[in-house]
Subunit: 401 residues, 2 copies
Amino acid sequence: MINDLNEILSTNARGMKKSEIRELLKLTQDPEVISFAGGLPSPESFPVQELYDILCDIMKNEAQVALQYGATEGDTLLRTLLVERYKKMGLNISLKNVIITTASQQALDLIGKIFIDRGDKIIVGLPSYLGALGAFNSYGADMVGIPLDEHGMSVTKLEEVLKDLQSENKKPKFIYIIPDFQNPSGITMPKKRRLEIIELAKKYDVLIIEDSPYRELRFEGEPVETMYHLDNSEQVVMLGTFSKIFAPGFRIGWVVGNEHILDKIVVAKQSTDLCTPPYTQRIAARYIEQGLLDSNIKKIIDLYREKRDAMLEAFEQYMPEGVTWTKPEGGLFLFLTVPEHIDTGELFLDAIKEKVAFVTGSSFYCNGKGKNTMRINFSYSAKDMNIEGVKRLAKVIKSYL
Amino acid sequence: MINDLNEILSTNARGMKKSEIRELLKLTQDPEVISFAGGLPSPESFPVQELYDILCDIMKNEAQVALQYGATEGDTLLRTLLVERYKKMGLNISLKNVIITTASQQALDLIGKIFIDRGDKIIVGLPSYLGALGAFNSYGADMVGIPLDEHGMSVTKLEEVLKDLQSENKKPKFIYIIPDFQNPSGITMPKKRRLEIIELAKKYDVLIIEDSPYRELRFEGEPVETMYHLDNSEQVVMLGTFSKIFAPGFRIGWVVGNEHILDKIVVAKQSTDLCTPPYTQRIAARYIEQGLLDSNIKKIIDLYREKRDAMLEAFEQYMPEGVTWTKPEGGLFLFLTVPEHIDTGELFLDAIKEKVAFVTGSSFYCNGKGKNTMRINFSYSAKDMNIEGVKRLAKVIKSYL
């Protein structure tokens, strides 16, 4: 072993931190703990029987494609089906605008890799998805946080920051946004807000990264067009994934955007994993082709709506005064705020004793704030467990009041 | 679209080049072209029938593990089986010394990510695996090439370079070596050479990255212990993969090494893809558990030995004087050298006209040399096609003499 490992690590590696979520998930392996901590889809949502037939068919009829190396940009069949699917949603894109990644997390990593030099500014929500913060941090990004209001990222604050950065001649590399059922807040951006942010992005010539893993899991209300759709000038790069609507175990996501940007992502991807597994890509392709994805999404929506409802009711019933929470119209998460004097990091340890887990909100704040918040997942546990877990959590919170 | 994409790219992204191999592979899609260009395993080597049963069983019995997110360090079952497999080979490692990656290419990328700051020195063979050069280049590595002799990396040259760098106070981050059936040269390092290099690495306190994708595909002669095995002090980090002995379409590789280094790789991996597909990991695990991997390797060895033999015979028969080639005892590749005045980059275009393809050797030289060399793959095409391809290639080479 070399004498001093630290001495030979890259500057970025020295700044990397273990994901708190993934470490916490280990603590919550105890089967008695009701975990609101992960971002896991419910196992009930996995279409096991339909998959069985598809897997077998692929191994019978197209094993030689599925088992071989594939193109870095992804399986052409899967990309074509995604293009068709977007066209049905009114989005006019073609094959050159879609590439496949090893789930969204890889897209976030590759975006970090092609855009971020150590010290570069990027703009994220306060709070924002932990895994994205981790990916951008791993390239040494200097993240500027913009607070969210009930409609998502604040336009006033965003313009202030963009103006300030412009005056310092520090152009941010991109604005990272999750407009639908944001992780961790559960907030969805209305159309007006999306348009205002796109306008700002154009005015200040800044790219928008629209991360959209939960969009299709809408339980109620009307969908708002994606920012990619509303923009129409390719100021936006959009990320999608099958992890929440099909199965995370296949690790398949995609990126929609301007072909020159995708080209750069593909070159970066070549050296990171050559290609996403052709086998799991082909499974996803056949699954869409047989029209199974859309019916599976309907099934998941019904399942998660019920779980969310049960949880929101339990909150109303059990939470003490002074505790507030968001009421998401879809997705997997809601965000809970406790009185300011409570640190959810401390509270977490007592919660574990009471056999309930969550993720501390501060993990999602690039500035370390949000000490009195927590992210609650409602998709994973069974409905009854959601209710029981809220009871336990309420008890712990009360002990801090 | 933003005004100037180039302006917002990272410095490293500006320096990334498309992999010549992957671009060439596109040119060689013409079914009439006999391609010696790729590094593809033969489709005949895929154990389709055995896989069929395993896939179906997993979907019946353990879909909920296979379809869910998994641990970043990899499936514990698969890691345990790898540990047992190495123990049978005489290597005393434990679970903490093995993690799973999205094939070897991801391991190369993560090693780049945790060790390389822009401008850092690393040491590679002249020639060396293109995909590794690409991964290290994507972090801005300043690669120092060490010529190979018939036993692999030259010890004298290596020590010269290590001494020079030491005198300039520029410690290289690691030495990258493929000791078995090297890509692209096909050369295998004898035990003595491995020990000498390990000794140098210890003397100069430099890590060795031992990349070992072909090791188990030995057609003849006795296997030499891995450098990891010979070292015993964790100066070496070793990479393995199922891509050449099972199926590249699953994208599964692994890293064996000191736990503190693996820990850093795991943290970096968290933000690059969260986890390697649990489904394909479980397939590999069940495949090993049922004892199928070892019999499959035997099958592949017989298949590739025959293809190599056919190719070597064809070289003897058809190649003009002045052309030389390596005679690998295993693996997928051999390396061909033509007279110095011939540029294989030019020759490539004429070869394509004659419906035969290869990869120009210079792609494997970090210093751009090797213009009169080429890498020849013998594993992918059928035996007869190997012979026919050599005939065509010989014809093109003759036209340059």
